[in-house]
């Protein structure tokens, strides 16, 4: 990994080195760069079209200028949605969902820590009763973050009942924020998706749900959109969390996800450390993508 010639920033450096004029090669390289960053053929085409129009209209000739335009264009598209988390309810219940292995439990650990730094009383609910040792994993995170945890009373307990008990406990003990972890599920599994709808329904009997966060792995390709669509339908997702951005993947697919679904990205995970979670800023994100 000494040389990261494939990285998006590098590709752009190649594309945008110096004051060279825009040529056919520029467009080819640009297309390749966008595709390699997982923007997907459709978004790539629409971005390129927009840029071509703008270049024509504004009579832009320099590659450098084109780069700035691309950054702005991506930023505009990302900034079209409001990334603030709405946590004004007490308790504010946050349900965390996603496919397997995207980093739901880790995100909850980091998020709990973040909220604790504002002196909020945080309770986490271990409603992932399926995966081996998921409860213990969450418990470790809760301990690190200084949050309390509600665990299932028995092996393989119905996740909805754990969620219910968590919210009930939060209400009686006056917690500020409740984070409910769920088991990972592929969006094509109808039965598991229905289970998620049930978890949601059951929580709502106690208290309105403030946020449903869908965790997406930045390495995911074009399937990310299918994931988002299915989870919106079954869990009523209100925001996205993009994880594993510390790797080589850029997560360009989120642009398509945002546009198709109108969901804002609310949080970004960039490592396994407890502090590696930040809010989402379109400007910074676009900057990182384009370099």
């Amino acid at each position: 990994m000494a040389e990261r010639s494939w990285s998006f920033a590098n590709v752009f450096r190649n594309v945008f080195g110096g004051a060279e004029p825009i040529s056919d090669d520029t467009w080819d390289d640009l297309e390749a760069a966008l595709l390699t960053a997982d923007f997907g053929p459709e978004t790539t085409e629409s971005l390129l079209e927009e840029l071509r129009d703008a270049v024509e209209r504004l009579r832009v000739t320099e590659v450098k200028e084109l780069r700035r335009m691309l950054r702005d264009s991506i930023e505009d598209r990302l900034a079209a949605f409001d990334p603030t988390l709405k946590l004004s309810d007490r308790p504010a219940v946050i349900l965390v969902v996603g496919v397997n292995g995207v980093g739901k439990t880790t995100t909850i650990g980091k998020f709990a820590n973040y909220l604790r730094s504002f002196d909020k009383r945080v309770l986490v609910g271990a409603a992932d009763t399926f995966r081996a040792a998921a409860v213990e994993q969450l418990a470790t995170w809760a301990e690190r973050a200084g949050a309390s945890i509600v665990k299932p009373q028995q092996q393989g307990q119905d996740p909805a009942s754990v969620a219910f008990q968590t919210v009930e406990h939060a209400k009686s003990e006056d917690y500020d924020i409740v984070l409910v972890d769920t088991a990972g599920r592929l969006q094509s599994k109808g039965g598991l998706m229905d289970e998620l709808s049930k978890v949601r329904r059951v929580i709502e009997k106690q208290s309105p749900i403030a946020e449903v966060l869908l965790v997406l792995d930045a390495t995911t390709g074009q399937n990310g959109l299918a994931q988002a669509e299915a989870f919106i339908e079954h869990a009523g997702v209100t925001g996205l969390v993009l994880t594993k951005l510390d790797g080589s993947a850029k997560g360009g697919f989120v642009l398509a996800v945002q546009q198709k679904t109108g969901l804002p990205i609310k949080l970004i995970g960039q490592g396994e450390g407890i502090g590696d979670l930040t809010g989402f800023t379109p400007h910074v994100f676009a900057q990182q993508l384009v370099g």
Binding site: M1, R4, W6, S7, A32, L35, T36, A37, D38, G40, P41, E42, V99, N100, G101, V102, G103, G109, F130, R131, A132, A133, A134, E136, Q137, A139, T140, W141, L186, Q187, S188, K189, D217, A218, T219, T220, G221, Q222, N223, G224, L225, A226, E229, K244, D246, G247, S248, A249, K250, F253, E272
Partner: protein
């Protein structure tokens, strides 16, 4: 999932355009190649691999191969499929065993790829084959990964070696080394080393993985990768190849609806074979990888290979030859009709077979409505007839029909409609036997009409019934094309991209035995 459906549709449309042409122009090929490129990109195949792939397809498609072909579209699909399989690794490779046990298998991959779960699946799979695997917990990073491996090991009924509690405590290299010693001491013949998830760009962690590898000298290093991964597959695979030099790949989460283009990228970039596919959360959801089937999945051209295999097994060639002769001599009877149908049923669930056909995706709903018991009912009706009636349906008068209806637990109307369907089928058979083009619903005009298949049938009609195509797939197609039900026949026609309309499907159902 909208994008997938659209793409598959677009590709099918492109092929349809090709089909209507006798020859391919460069522009046709370019158009098709563009669609394929897009489809591959949507399927998350890496850009470099896509470029190399489309260049090759284009070259072959423009070569003599296609111009001489009778059905260009068919040829293009074939080229695409062949090339896909080629990249995916042709034949499957098996797990390498050590000459001197224990065989050591090390797992490596990104976070959340499914390594720990896979360790359990692998252990169960090995145990089922009579081995005694030992799981070694070297993921000391992620909170409670060791606990998870313990649970998984228990479920798989395998032994576990976990001297360190994990959660950041302990040295994975030492644990790995001691694990091998433990296996030797306790006579385990397989050791599976689970490691922490790591990013390709994390130099320190990659070095740790390399150190583990050096310390235990594994017989197989399996790179576990999430099949949901996008363009980053290439960067990650390269990083792991340089870091731990894996010997094989395992694709996980293949039970989702993603296309899994990553498989293609990884093969294309690293040249390492994909050994296993993991297809669910249960410990038993684990199987050797089939490159050919993955190829079909990536381009959504349907599981044609499986279909051909099944049809070949089920279709008794001798029987088919007899039928062909009978058709030629105009003696196609209800008995033959029944046999054909039973053979088709032997090929497995018709619903399943139709589901495997390319372009059938959008017709799933109708497939759901299709009642297989109709065929059983039809069987019952024919079986309630006497020998005379079956040979010569013309003798079926009102009282005979009533008797048959009572005998088979159906109504006279149903018997009537069966006789009608049979007559239609017989008529169709005759047309084919005389060398004409049959109107089989769902097929549109026969592929290569006037040439290939029809020509061969003409020969059969002249009494050379024994002469069949040397190509087993074609042979099955021929035979199936002749069968009254036409079920698998349309399947092979579809390989060349005919897209049956909904009305066609309805007709098809009717022929199979619907009302």
């Amino acid at each position: 999932m909208a994008t997938f459906g659209n793409l598959s549709q677009r590709l099918t449309d492109t092929f349809k355009n090709l089909r209507s042409k006798g020859k391919l122009s460069a522009a046709d090929v370019d158009g098709t190649v563009r669609e394929i490129r897009r489809a591959l990109l949507e399927a998350d195949v890496s850009l470099d691999v896509v470029k190399a792939f489309t260049a090759k397809v284009r070259e072959r498609a423009l070569g003599d191969e296609v111009n001489r072909a009778l059905n260009p579209a068919q040829q293009v699909v074939q080229i695409v499929n062949e090339e896909l399989i080629e990249i995916l690794g042709g034949d499957q490779r098996r797990l390498q065993f050590a000459k001197q046990p224990p065989t050591v298998i090390m797992l490596a991959g990104l976070q959340g790829a499914g390594k720990t779960t896979l360790a359990g699946k692998l252990a169960l799979w090995l145990r089922e084959q009579g081995h005694t695997p030992l799981l070694v917990a070297c993921d000391l990073q992620r909170p409670n990964a060791v606990t998870q491996l313990g649970v998984v090991a228990e479920q798989a009924g395998a032994a576990i070696f976990a001297p360190e509690p994990g959660n950041g405590v302990g040295d994975p290299v030492k644990v790995a080394k001691r694990g091998i010693a433990e296996a030797k001491a306790k006579q385990h013949d397989f050791v599976i080393v689970d490691t922490a998830g790591r990013l390709g760009v994390d130099a320190e962690m990659m070095k740790q993985a390399a150190d583990i590898r050096k310390a235990i000298d594994p017989d197989e290093v399996l790179f576990v990768i999430d099949s949901l991964i996008g363009q980053d597959a290439v960067a990650t695979a390269k990083a792991f190849q340089e870091g731990v030099d894996f010997t094989g790949v395992v694709l996980t989460k293949l039970d989702g609806d993603q296309r899994g283009g990553a498989a293609l990228s990884i093969r294309g970039v690293t040249g390492k074979p994909i050994l296993f596919a993991s297809t669910g959360e249960g410990l038993g959801d684990f199987e050797p990888f089939h490159p050919d089937r993955m190829a079909s999945r990536i381009l959504d051209l349907g599981d044609i290979l499986t279909l051909i295999e099944q049809a070949q097994q089920a279709f008794d060639e001798e029987e088919a030859r007899k039928v062909a002769e009978k058709i030629a001599s105009d003696r196609f009877t209800l008995d033959d009709f029944l046999k054909q149908m039973q053979q088709l049923r032997g090929a497995g669930s018709i619903k399943k077979m139709m589901g495997m056909l390319p372009g059938m995706g959008k017709m799933k709903e109708q497939l759901e409505n299709f009642d297989e018991r109709e065929i059983i009912r039809t069987e019952a009706i024919i079986q309630s007839m006497t020998k005379l009636e079956r040979e010569n349906p013309k003798v079926l008068n009102g009282s005979r029909r009533l008797r048959i209806a009572k005998g088979s637990g159906t109504t006279v109307t149903e018997v009537n409609s069966l006789v009608q369907r049979f007559e239609q089928a017989a008529k169709m058979m005759k047309t084919v036997a005389k060398g004409g083009v049959p109107q089989i619903p769902g097929m549109g005009p026969m592929p290569g009409a006037g040439g290939g298949y029809a020509g061969k049938k003409k020969q059969q009609a002249k009494g050379k019934g024994a002469k069949r195509s040397g190509n087993p797939a074609k042979r099955a197609a021929e035979a199936a094309g002749k069968s009254a039900t036409g079920g698998s026949g349309s399947g092979f026609g579809l390989g060349s991209a005919a897209q049956p309309s909904e009305a066609d499907l309805a007709k098809f159902q009717q022929m199979l035995g619907g009302r």
